[in-house]
């Protein structure tokens, strides 16, 4: 079967979350032709679920803030294995990217003097998150989506990319199928931007939707790109734990930003018991000071509930393991207590956290203005991803760019809340810009028909098998294994066990069979996603084995301390010619003296 390119673009963007949309806007603005592919309908990508806000040092609520403080906060949060250049660009450019959204119709919450209001969030020294109640992601995606509508970008909704094509060394296009009919399409492009988001579905308890199967990570990896930092997974401290069907759904950090506190079953605010040394100077001495901080008292320091997510998640884990958890295996998150401080507390909570109020009321029959919530850690974000050039976002494959959650570097070992949404618009823009520049300077690469045929045959194999493994079951077993063996607390033995199990899941996946037709067939879709989850899970497990220390989102019981030597490199995974995964260490680039100095200055 000779395949021909159904569509040809200058720039092809894969993913319509914040990063993909922003990249498409930028590329289209330069006049090149742009195609945009996404698995769901437009406006439904994961970005829509983001709640708390986007971080940008606009200094509206505290004029001591500046890009330098944001940069230092990001590096400290990432435990200094971040790509310093990305952290620098992000801190410098985020304010302009946020303001631009306002010019495109976004309506952020306002300060008293009519500017964009900014809220406190974990790890950020000053109130820095531009927000819209607790539905900031919706505002971001809708603004970008609506803006894209008028730019002549061709959108292919409900299409899933299954293979990345190369022409010699460079990226040349992709093979995709449409979910509606199950037909295959080839997209040829001079430059491709990967913006496929995260991989939370590799774990059982997650805040991520079905889309978060690490497709971009896996597609790039299989095409030969480097992935880095895959051991760094962010377990968000506060996911819902009850009822079982909503386990993992996120409870925004904004609850703690507005004064919510964590308590164990004994009623103790356990976060005061364990404050890491490098955060002591910035942390409140007592509950009273913490409360004042949440009420924007500039002389107060933040409460320990707003320490970085990795730390808070581990503290919660410890309380639960020590038998001091809540009835359903979490701890208590209490915002209702603020009625002791504010006269109109219930109304205040509903105004500041409307979707949290709604979510608990409707899904858990619980009124957060009167009753503490039960929360526990949930897999939330992957710091690791496609290795990119900081300025251009180009991966190690020429012509393949990556932005947003599927790219790595800015976050290091741990992402600060709010730094993702700003990352999407800062680096989405850069990826779109550099991809367009490359496309203008390039000829259309050739599409390899043989590779197209192989990709299609591979994708259809589950239909030919008649009977075989149930793909849903393999996926569930994989999620159980990753959750229990490569989760919040890791050990060498368990991770080796995970690698062994993954080999078995790989074999089962190769025997997976589906019934029915190609039209909107969820079983088939699960089969296809499974390959990506398997590759990503293996990269996570092998990278985590390589890093024999604890840092940020990666905590090892057998190596519980941070080790200086491990601060000098990123762990990288790359596919070998024989299909096996090679793990190596890539030295971190040397940071310029000015940036080092900024970090030192901000340490007090």
């Amino acid at each position: 079967m000779a395949a021909h390119a159904t569509y040809t673009y200058d720039v092809l963007v894969i993913g319509a979350g914040g990063a993909g949309l922003r990249a498409a806007i930028e590329a289209a603005g330069t006049g090149v032709s742009v195609g945009l592919i996404c698995k769901s309908l437009l406006g439904k990508a994961h970005t829509v679920m983001a709640e708390g806000g986007m971080a940008a040092a606009m200094a509206h609520n505290d004029d001591r803030d500046s890009w330098k403080v944001h940069f230092a906060d990001t590096m400290r949060g990432g435990q200094y294995v971040n790509n310093w250049r990305m952290a620098e660009l992000h801190a410098k450019e985020a304010p302009d990217r946020v303001r631009e959204l306002e010019a495109w119709g976004a309506v952020f919450d306002r300060t008293a003097d009519g500017r964009i209001n900014q809220r406190n969030f974990g790890g950020h020294r000053y109130p820095r998150l531009a927000h819209v109640g607790d539905r900031t992601g919706l505002e971001l995606i809708r603004t970008l989506q609506d803006h894209t509508t008028y730019l002549g970008v061709t959108v292919h909704m409900e299409h899933t990319v299954i293979d990345l094509l190369r022409d010699g060394g460079r990226a040349a296009g992709v093979v995709a199928y449409d979910r509606e009919r199950g037909r295959f399409h080839v997209f040829a492009a001079k430059a491709i931007v990967m913006a496929t988001g995260g991989a939370g579905r590799a774990f059982k308890i997650t805040s991520n939707s079905w889309e978060g199967t690490g497709d971009g990570h896996a597609l790039a990896y299989r095409a030969g790109a480097d992935l880095i930092d895959m051991e760094f997974i962010q377990f968000h401290p506060t996911g819902m734990v009850w009822p079982p069907s909503v386990r993992g759904i996120l409870v925004t950090e904004g609850v703690r930003g507005e004064g919510g506190v964590l308590r164990n079953s004994e009623g103790r605010r356990f976060m005061f018991d364990d404050i890491p040394d490098n955060y002591k100077p910035q942390t409140a001495a007592d509950p009273e000071e913490g409360w004042r901080y949440t009420q924007n008292d500039k002389t107060a320091r933040r409460p320990p509930e707003l320490l970085t997510r990795d730390h808070v998640a581990r503290c919660i884990n410890r309380e639960v393991k020590a038998g001091r958890g809540s009835p359903h295996g979490g701890v208590f998150l209490d915002i209702a207590w603020i009625k002791e401080k504010l006269p109109d507390a219930a109304a205040h909570i509903k105004r500041k956290l409307p979707s949290m109020y709604h979510q608990f009321k409707e899904l858990a029959d619980l009124d957060i203005t009167t009753t503490p919530m039960e929360v526990g850690p949930t897999t939330h974000y992957i710091m690791g991803g496609i290795r990119v050039n900081a300025d251009s976002q180009e991966s190690t494959i020429p012509g393949l760019f990556a932005a947003g959650e599927c790219a790595a570097g800015i976050n290091g070992a741990n992402r600060l809340g709010g730094n993702s949404l700003s990352d999407l618009i800062v680096f989405g823009k850069r990826a779109g810009e550099y991809a367009a520049t490359l496309a203008r300077a390039s000829a259309q690469p050739a599409v390899d028909d043989g590779a197209v045929d192989r990709a299609i045959a591979n994708a259809l194999a589950p239909f030919d098998r008649g009977t075989g493994e149930n793909p849903y079951k393999v996926q569930q077993d994989l999620q159980e294994a990753m959750q229990s063996l490569v989760g919040i607390v890791r050990t060498e033995d368990e991770m080796q066990e995970a690698v062994r199990l993954l080999a078995g899941f790989n074999e089962r996946a190769a025997r997976a069979a589906v019934d029915g037709h190609r039209e909107y067939n969820s079983g088939w879709h699960t089969c296809i996603d499974l390959r990506n989850l398997l590759d990503v899970s293996e990269a996570i497990a092998r990278s985590a084995i390589e890093r024999k220390e604890s840092r940020g989102g990666h905590f090892r019981e057998d190596y519980p301390e941070k080790v200086a030597e491990f601060a000098t490199f990123n762990v990288s995974t790359r596919r070998q010619a024989d299909g096996s995964m090679q793990v190596s260490r890539i030295p971190l680039p040397e940071m310029p003296a000015e940036l080092k100095q900024i970090i030192e200055e901000q340490k007090q």
């Binding site: 769901s40 437009l42 439904k44 010019a103 009822p243 079982p244 149930n470 039209e519 909107y520």
Partner: protein, 248 residues
């Protein structure tokens, strides 16, 4: 553990009309209709098609008609339904079927393309930014809560029964237009479009859209009626018209 029966609409291959099939499955505390659909998918009907993303009422993907009422499957708790009877789950009927619970909602995206885009006034400050008071954006923020679930479009009789898809943009896009018209920075004039190609006159304020909106947006009272008033003031009110003539 108890059981419940779900009477789910299944289409035939090729999108032809199908029929209901009953699936009985185990249920547990806190489950929503979407969980039941997923369980049935994993255990009994691998190829059952439905859309979902967030499972928390934030993305507007999982719209369906449950026991005849347009709702989000992920926000419909089983303990709010009568489980002594089979729970019927069917696709939104106003839109063409694709498969099972999935419908073709592309008309909505096309409608949006035809609406006038946001056109802000010149920035207020030299740094290119604007000043807006919270109280002046509250109303617009209500409309911008919309998750584009299209349940209001599904229930509106002008679209559902009279199929005025060519002449009427529906409650979702009247709300969208209201958000732009009431945006403190916007300068475009959408009233002629509203009156003509957007067909605001077709709405006879039955408020069915407001009743199904999962975001509790006051679609009729806060968006449609004020827009209707503006249209009337401009095009039908003789005093206003005269005034305009005098003002040139």
């Amino acid at each position: 553990m108890s059981q419940a029966t779900f009477r789910i609409w299944r289409s035939k291959p090729g999108g032809e009309n199908g029929g209901f099939i009953d699936y009985t499955t185990e249920i547990s505390e806190g489950m929503v209709v979407l969980d039941a659909v997923h369980k049935i998918q994993a255990e009994q009907a691998q190829d059952l098609a439905c859309r979902w993303n967030c499972k928390a009422g934030k993305c507007g993907s999982c719209s369906a008609e449950i026991n005849g009422t347009p709702r989000l499957m992920c926000m419909s708790r089983l303990n709010s339904l009568d489980l002594t009877q089979p729970v019927t789950v069917e696709p939104m009927r106003t839109f063409p079927a694709i498969k099972d619970l999935v419908t073709d909602v592309s008309w909505n995206f096309r409608v949006k393309k035809g609406l006038k885009k946001f056109a802000p006034r010149k920035p207020d400050a030299p740094d290119g930014t604007w000043r807006m008071a919270q109280k002046d954006v509250d109303r617009v923020q209500e409309f911008r809560k919309c998750i584009e679930c299209f349940l209001c479009q599904d229930v509106c009789h002008v679209l559902r029964d009279h199929e005025k898809h060519d002449a009427f943009i529906g409650p979702r896009f009247l709300t969208y237009t209201a958000a732009l018209e009431m945006h403190p920075l916007d300068t475009a004039d959408r009233l002629p479009d509203l009156k003509n190609q957007n067909g605001i006159g077709y709405c006879n304020i039955t408020k069915c859209c407001t009743k199904v909106c999962p975001e509790h947006i006051h679609i009729t009272d806060n968006a449609i009626i004020p827009l209707k008033e503006r249209v009337v003031d401009r095009f039908y009110d003789p005093v206003m018209r005269l005034l305009r003539v005098f003002q040139g």
